[in-house]
Structures are given as structure tokens and as C-alpha cells.
């Protein structure tokens, strides 16, 4: 009996300890960043340009670039992902080889390392699609699309986040009860009318959740844009799809590894990291909140 009690007590304290360990890591990381970074995050920092070889000034171009990146990425990725998910849940025969192949592809895509997407973007979008466009559209030798830009970076990011969108939209669609679909069909609605008027409106919040999760995933990735569009430093904001852009994650990376004076940028590094973290956390929390709302509505 005593043996059992000792075993029981030690297992429960071991599990509690490892749980506490996780909490402690989060607390140390967050605490460190908040303490070191918060004093640098000022209005001028959020709205200004980097100056003095990026040892002074703000990060507005990087915030703007990140924003633009995820917006273009969503405009391209969310519709494609949503339509794929609609096909998979509503139209495809669940056991057909084709549907299985697509699901297998989605899962594989989800497991591919981000840097591979970056290389794919470089090889496919820039060197193949972009160069071909230049050859077709511009006088020989001129370069416009065959080099890194925000369009190719966004497309690469859209492909990276596609599995996130597909899986969450599929879940949202599946959460619409069969009874509602049957009610609609029994009234003489076609399958398309049922999807359009009943299934999609009732899974809208779930789809939004998917979109937000994709955006927060995209905002946190650097590898895919490394070769496809992010710039070290730009004096002006991008104003065309063929322009390069600055991005928060990439900005942190170059300031901590490529800056001529890493020590001098320490405060900016912390502050930029804080901004990026707050941004992705805010997106994740809004996704969780939305999902909670959906579940509550469905429980009626």
C-alpha cells in the first residue's frame, strides 16, 4: 500500500513539475522580451523608419510589409483553401482515390519545412513564372518579375498556409449538422443552394478562424520570404506588386545577425520581437474567441 502511495505521489508531482516547467519557459521568454523591449516601443518606434544604419528609428516599413504580406496571402490562399475544403467535404466521394490523394497532399504540405517553401518559391515563382513573364512582356534583358517581390513572397506564403485553411474550413463545414442540410434538400433546394444558403453561412465563423490562424502562422514565418521578397532595408514602402518589402520576422533576423553593430540594435531587436509576438498572439486569441462563439451558437 505504501509503495503504491509513494508511486502515486511521485507520478503526480513529476507531471505537475513538467507542466510547471513549460509555464516557466513561457514566463521567462515573455518576461525577458517585455522587460527589455517595452521601453523602446513608443509611438515614434511604431510609425518611424529605421535610421542611422538601422541602429535608431522605428519599424513602420516592417509592420506595413508584414500587413501587406498577410493581406495578399489571404486574398489568394483563403479562397483556394476554402474551395478545396468545400470540394473535399461536400462533393468528393469520401472514399474515392482522388479525394484521398488530395488529403494526402494536404497533410504532406503541412509537414514540409518552411525553408523548402522558400526554395520552391524562388525556383518556381521567380525563376520560372517571373522570368517567363519578363521574357514575354519586357524588352530583352530587362528584369521586373524575375526577381524577389511581395507578390511572389505572398504566393509562397499562401501555399505554406493552405493546409491550415483547408483543415479549419473542413472542420467548420463538418460542424454544420446533417439535419440542416437534409431540411434544405427536402424543401427542393439543390445541393449548391444548400451549401450556399445553409452550410456556408453557418460555418462562416469557423472559416474566419481558419483565415486568422493562417494569417498568424504566416506572420510568424521568415524562411519562405527569405529568397522570395523580403528586403534588408528599404527607404520607401512598396507601392507595386513587383516591389520588395520589409517584414518583422526578417527584420529581427537581419538585425540580430547581419547588422554592422549588433549591440547597438539590441533594444530595437527586443522591441520588434515584442511587436511581432503581440501581433500573432492577438490573432490567435481572436481565432480562439471566434471558435468559442461558433461552438456556443451550434450548441443551441
Amino acid at each position: 500500500m505504501i509503495k503504491k502511495k509513494i508511486l502515486n505521489a511521485s507520478v503526480s508531482s513529476a507531471t505537475a513539475l513538467s507542466a510547471f516547467f513549460i509555464l516557466a519557459i513561457v514566463a521567462v521568454v515573455m518576461g525577458n522580451i517585455i522587460i527589455e523591449g517595452s521601453s523602446t516601443v513608443t509611438w515614434e518606434f511604431l510609425t518611424g523608419k529605421p535610421t542611422e544604419g538601422m541602429t535608431q528609428g522605428g519599424i513602420f516599413p516592417a509592420i506595413f510589409g508584414t500587413f501587406l504580406l498577410v493581406v495578399i496571402m489571404s486574398i489568394i490562399g483563403v479562397p483556394i483553401g476554402t474551395i478545396t475544403a468545400i470540394y473535399l467535404t461536400e462533393y468528393a466521394n469520401q472514399h474515392s482515390p482522388f479525394a484521398r490523394l488530395i488529403r494526402f497532399a494536404v497533410n504532406t504540405l503541412a509537414g514540409v519545412p518552411a525553408i523548402v517553401f522558400g526554395l520552391f518559391g524562388l525556383g518556381f515563382f521567380i525563376q520560372f513564372v517571373g522570368s517567363s513573364m519578363d521574357k514575354a512582356l519586357l524588352p530583352a534583358g530587362e528584369l521586373r518579375w524575375g526577381q524577389p517581390n511581395i507578390l511572389w513572397a505572398s504566393l509562397t506564403m499562401a501555399i505554406l498556409t493552405l493546409p491550415v485553411v483547408i483543415v479549419s474550413v473542413e472542420e467548420a463545414l463538418k460542424s454544420v449538422p446533417r439535419e440542416l442540410r437534409e431540411a434544405s434538400l427536402a424543401l427542393g433546394a439543390t445541393k449548391f443552394e444548400t451549401i450556399w444558403k445553409i452550410v456556408l453561412p453557418n460555418s462562416l465563423a469557423g472559416m474566419l478562424t481558419g483565415g486568422i490562424l493562417a494569417v498568424s502562422r504566416g506572420a510568424g514565418e521568415v524562411a519562405p520570404i527569405l529568397f522570395t521578397g523580403a528586403a534588408y532595408f528599404l527607404p520607401k514602402l512598396p507601392n507595386s506588386l513587383s516591389d520588395q518589402f520589409m517584414e518583422l520576422g526578417y527584420h529581427i533576423y537581419i538585425m540580430s545577425t547581419q547588422s554592422p553593430d549588433v549591440e547597438a540594435t539590441r533594444g530595437i531587436q527586443y522591441a520588434t520581437t515584442l511587436v511581432l509576438l503581440v501581433l500573432t498572439f492577438a490573432l490567435n486569441f481572436s481565432a480562439i474567441f471566434l471558435r468559442y462563439r461558433v461552438r456556443k451558437n451550434m450548441a443551441h
Binding site: E182, L185, L187, I198, H300
Partner: protein, 254 residues
């Protein structure tokens, strides 16, 4: 029985779930403007049969059927049949009330809107008429914008009936429409069924023998996928022709 017009004529109908033979050689003439009840123990095929009458079983993968189901002289399993048109003509009420998460008005107007009725005045009329027909109008007329989900269980089921009659069907299929309701709400639905048969031909699946006896004019008894007996309800419940029917309605098995 001869003077009654047949609305649905079923001949040698078989239905299979994958390899399971769920309905065996069913033949039945469902009379117009009468209530026909389908009774039998769980899994006997009565719901499957009901769902065959508006081809809702088409939605289930790996099923097939043969034989004929003729509604108004048209075989509904004919390849040329438009299932969507069929389902407008043959409405369905489900076991669990399933209003859309929309307002009462939008629930009832859903069917007409699909049929391209867009004019507000016309929709208003249809909604009012349908809700009156489903005996719900007086309870909800002051707040048609309220969510259908905010209604009580019995009211929700009547809303579903209103939604079904809004597309002007000729036949109403009811799959245990009162099984989830309290006795008072059940009584209301039963009274309603009695009124509805003047305009519609009704086929109802029920677990409740008293209910079948109360609401129906004809009764079919199903057992293990076979139709054991089909006759006037009076006759089925007073002097059934088959021993199995008698055993079932007297509660000896079920």
C-alpha cells in the same frame, strides 16, 4: 378502399444498404388525402421506406434500390426525374425538429425564395398562410423576426411543418414527428395532422401505436424489411389479418 384515389403506388420495391437488404418487395397503394401510418419495431425499414418516397436516401452512399414508386403516374426513380422538383412536391418533416438558425420568417420563406419568389408582399402572404396552416401563427405573429431556435420543441416542429407547406407540396412525409415532444405538444401535432390531410396526402412513421391508431386512416406494419400487413387502421387494430401484426400491436414483442 376502392373509391379512394391512389397518390403513391409502390410496386416490388427493394432497398439495399451496401449488402444489407433493408426493404424486401414492398408494394402498397397510398391513398390521396388520407393519413397512412408506418409502424414496426426499430430497424424494420419503415424510415428507410419513408425516405425512399422523396429520394432522400440518394444522399447516403453505397445504397441502391429497384422496383417502382409511382407518384401521380410518374415513376420517381425514372432517370429523367428531377429530384429537386420531386422534393418540392413531396415535403418532409423530420424526427428532430430542425429549424434553420434564422428568423421564423426566413425559415418559412426559405423554400419560396429558392423558387424565386422575391416580392415582399407575396412572401408575407405565403409566410402567414403557412404559419396559420401549421397552427403556429397566433403564437408567433407578433415577432416573426425571432430566431426559430428560440421556440419551444413543439413550436419548432410546427415551424418545420409551416416551412414544408410553404412550397405547396402535395404529399407530406413525417418521420416520427412527435417522438421528441411532451404529451401536450404531441396532441397539438396530432390535431394538426388531422387538419392537414384535407389538403395533403400524409405518410407518417411512428413508434407509438396509440398515435397510429389516433391519427391514421391506413396502417402498414413492417417487420425485418418486409411489409407484413397493410390495411385500414380500424381493421389493423381490431382484427389484424396476421399473427405477427397482432403480436406487435398487443405488445408481445417490439
Amino acid at each position: 378502399m376502392n373509391e379512394l384515389k391512389t397518390k403513391i403506388r409502390v410496386e416490388n420495391f427493394n432497398f439495399y444498404y451496401d449488402k444489407k437488404h433493408a426493404l424486401k418487395n414492398i408494394s402498397m397503394n397510398v391513398p390521396e388525402h388520407r393519413v397512412t401510418a408506418l409502424i414496426g419495431p426499430s430497424g424494420c425499414g419503415k424510415s428507410t421506406f419513408l425516405r425512399s418516397l422523396n429520394r432522400m436516401n440518394d444522399l447516403i452512399e453505397h445504397t441502391r434500390c429497384d422496383g417502382t414508386v409511382v407518384v401521380d403516374n410518374v415513376n420517381i426513380y425514372d432517370e429523367a426525374i428531377d429530384v429537386v422538383e420531386l422534393r418540392k412536391k413531396v415535403g418532409m418533416i423530420f424526427q428532430r425538429s430542425n429549424p434553420f438558425p434564422k428568423s421564423i420568417y426566413d425559415n418559412v420563406a426559405y423554400g419560396p425564395r429558392i423558387n424565386n419568389i422575391k416580392e415582399k408582399k407575396q412572401l408575407d402572404e405565403i409566410v402567414e398562410r403557412s404559419l396559420i396552416r401549421a397552427a403556429l401563427w397566433d403564437e408567433v405573429k407578433d415577432d416573426l423576426s425571432k430566431s426559430g431556435l428560440a421556440l419551444s420543441g413543439g413550436q419548432q416542429q410546427r415551424l418545420c411543418i409551416a416551412r414544408a407547406v410553404a412550397v405547396d407540396p402535395e404529399i407530406l412525409l413525417m418521420d416520427e414527428p412527435a417522438s421528441a415532444l411532451d404529451p401536450l405538444a404531441t396532441t397539438k401535432i396530432e390535431e394538426l395532422i388531422h387538419e392537414l390531410k384535407e389538403k395533403y396526402t400524409i405518410v407518417i412513421v411512428t413508434h407509438n401505436m396509440q398515435q397510429a391508431a389516433r391519427v391514421s386512416d391506413f396502417t402498414a406494419f413492417f417487420y425485418m424489411g418486409e411489409q407484413i400487413e397493410f390495411d385500414e387502421t380500424k381493421k389493423i387494430f381490431t382484427m389484424p389479418g396476421k399473427k405477427q401484426t397482432e403480436d406487435y400491436i398487443t405488445g408481445r414483442f417490439g
